[in-house]
């Protein structure tokens, strides 16, 4: 095979380019600030763990990590739980306005979150939800529920309707059928939907920082503290950046099989 060597080189270069920024972030996180600001170096001249230490001993940083993970997890659970019955209905039943409604749901994904920041701010202040992890978790449902409905509908439509009917004929009640027979069938779809909800909620900053101040400050809000009058704390920011990538990496590791199958099967 003549092209396989070229393929491999091309692939290696591609991966290299993808990895450069990540490597650079890791590189910076082990440098001291004077080191960073000095001359260009491809690896830390004076490797240090100081940046990470700062984060690990500061309770504010812990709290912000915990806040972020909490609202992301809550959001993922709510989004998937709400989207499942909706996606089932969109897939299995014909009702008046089903198609327009489906596309209207999707159009929610197209509006920038900034549009919703102000109304959410006002609403949550009024009902006392402001500055809580629930505020962010619920706000993120705005785009994650439609996303999950869209993904799950594709997977559900891939399951023959005859399986539902056979279960009804066998005598299953609907809840029992849904949990025992149906959920295992679309496990890959649930994995994919949960993954995307997690990711989008984790990387979203604007709503997360606008709807919180002190108690529920997310990691993004904490990072903005590293810009100060004294200048930028490059090393600290880089270490925080590395740490924020870790949960995403862990999630990908756990759902990688589901996602691979999901990408092959469904609507992503």
């Amino acid at each position: 095979m003549q092209s396989s060597a070229a393929n491999r080189v091309g692939m290696a270069l591609y991966i290299l380019f993808l990895m450069v920024p990540i490597y650079w972030l890791i590189n910076l996180s082990f440098k001291t600030n004077p080191d960073i600001l000095a001359s260009l170096s491809f690896w830390p001249q004076h490797p240090t763990l100081e940046n990470y230490q700062k984060i690990f001993i500061d309770p504010d940083w812990h709290a912000s990590f915990l806040n972020s993970i909490s609202y992301v997890l809550i959001n993922t659970v709510i989004s998937v739980a709400v989207a499942l019955p909706a996606a089932y209905a969109f897939s299995r039943y014909r009702f008046v306005g089903d198609k327009p409604l489906f596309f209207w749901l999707l159009s929610n994904l197209m509006a920038p979150p900034a549009v919703y920041a102000m109304p959410f701010f006002n609403l949550y202040s009024a009902v006392g939800l402001f500055d809580s992890i629930w505020a962010v978790a619920l706000a993120h449902c705005l785009f994650n529920v439609p996303l999950a409905v869209w993904i799950l509908e594709g997977f559900i439509s891939g399951v023959p309707r005859e399986i539902d009917e056979t279960a009804m004929i066998d005598g299953y009640s609907f809840p029992r059928f849904f949990i025992k027979i149906f959920l295992p069938l679309i496990a890959n779809g649930i994995g994919v939907a949960a993954f995307f909800c997690f990711m989008f909620s984790w990387v979203e900053q604007l709503l997360a920082t606008t709807l919180t101040t002190v108690d529920a400050k997310p990691i993004a809000g904490m990072m903005s503290r590293a810009y100060s009058a004294a200048g930028l704390d490059w090393g600290l920011l880089s270490a925080a950046g590395v740490l924020t990538m870790i949960p995403g990496a862990i999630v990908i590791w756990f759902v990688r099989n589901h996602i691979a199958k999901g990408f092959a099967l469904g609507r992503v």
Binding site: P160, E162, I163, E165, T166, A167, M168, I169, D170, G171, Y172, S173, R176, I181, P184, L185
Partner: protein, 362 residues
């Protein structure tokens, strides 16, 4: 004890899927729904099962009106043409599923599943999942699930259509025997006349959502009540020609006059439509008593010991049966020999006037 469909119809919007169907099914009987694709076989089965609700009419089981009873409260089992099983469950759990839902004791479930698995030769596969089985085994799993439930009504919707012919023959033989013990009403949908004849029992021919005839399969084949039933129950398709009888002569569509012999001899004057199956026409030299039609060969289908030759006679394309394997090329000139004694005669409304071997009834 019988299961009765009383004038049921099923309409969605403007479209009529089932039109005023009445049927009476007896316990332990084999009932074949015979009809081409889209004739309403599956829709009718879904109505029988309770998956859909008829828009008019009643379904009566053992004297009780069950029209509105949801499917999961009914004693019904169904096998689809596609092999439908629960992909995430083992074959054992697939078969046991209706029994688990019914909450039967474990020993009873084990006994029933074991018996069904033995009957359908699935014992070595019980631990596998459906995806690890061949098509025939998957369908046998679906059949086993229908069997263990011991439902009163068992609906088989073209269950063998997706299997290879050897398996089909085997299972077709076995199916009625397997269910005989349960005393269930079997309903078997098929597009194939031969299958209806092989299954014996009672056949209902379906055409455009209407039942065109009900009766013992062989009788329905020999004496179709009307032209629609005859068309449904003919494979290869029924050959047809219109004639106008006047005295001792009959005029064909083409203007050709032939002696009104055979089935036409005793008929009053009038316009008739003759229907005849492939075995009433052959190809070759004119023989006494046969009507000869010159034509052109369009297709030859060889099926084992016989050949079906499609001949364009100018009165339509007729399918002729020839013994043995012959190869006519498209375009060959030939003569179709039609036996006027073996035609069905239908009146202008499509009703049967007479059939071969019957005295004229009109």
């Amino acid at each position: 004890m019988s299961f009765v469909l009383d004038q049921i119809s099923y309409r969605v919007g403007e479209e009529t899927f089932i039109d005023n169907v009445s049927l009476r099914l007896e316990p332990g009987s084999m009932n074949v729904l015979l009809g081409p694709t889209l004739s309403g076989k599956t829709t009718l089965m879904r109505l029988m099962a309770g998956l859909d609700r008829p828009t008019a009419g009643k379904i009566i089981d053992n004297g009780v009106d069950i029209t509105g009873v949801p499917v999961r409260k009914r004693s019904v089992a169904m096998v689809y043409q596609q092999f439908v099983n629960y992909p995430t469950l083992s074959v054992y759990e697939n078969i046991a599923s209706p029994l688990r839902v019914a909450g039967l004791p474990k020993a009873e479930i084990e006994a029933r599943v074991g018996r069904a698995a033995a009957l359908l030769r699935l014992e070595p596969m019980l631990k596998r999942t459906p995806a690890q089985l061949s098509g025939g085994q998957q369908q046998r799993t679906a059949i086993a699930r229908a069997l263990v439930k011991q439902a009163k009504l068992v609906l088989l919707d073209e269950p063998l259509a997706n299997l290879d012919y050897k398996l089909r023959e085997e299972l077709r033989e076995e199916l009625p025997r397997i269910f005989a013990e349960t005393g269930a009403i079997l309903v078997y949908a098929t597009t194939e006349p031969t299958e209806a004849l092989l299954l014996r029992g009672q056949t209902a021919t379906l055409w455009q959502g209407r039942v065109t005839q009900v009766g013992p399969s062989a009788t329905a084949y020999r004496e179709p009540d009307n032209i629609d039933a005859a068309r449904v129950f003919s494979d290869p398709p029924l050959n047809e020609v219109s004639v106008t009888k006047a005295g001792a002569m009959a005029t064909l569509e083409s203007g050709r006059k032939v002696p009104a012999e055979g089935v036409l001899s005793g008929m009053p004057d009038g316009v008739y439509r003759l229907g005849f199956r492939a075995d009433a026409v052959t190809i070759g030299h004119p023989q006494p008593g046969m009507l000869s039609f010159p034509g052109t060969v369009s297709v030859t289908e060889i099926s084992g010991s016989e050949s079906f030759v499609h001949v364009d006679t100018g009165l339509g394309t007729w399918v002729c049966l020839v013994e043995g394997v012959h190869q006519w090329e498209p375009g060959d000139r030939t003569e179709a020999q039609f036996d006027p004694g073996r035609a069905f005669v239908f009146g202008s409304q499509g009703q049967r006037v007479t059939a071969p071997g019957l005295a004229a009834t009109a």
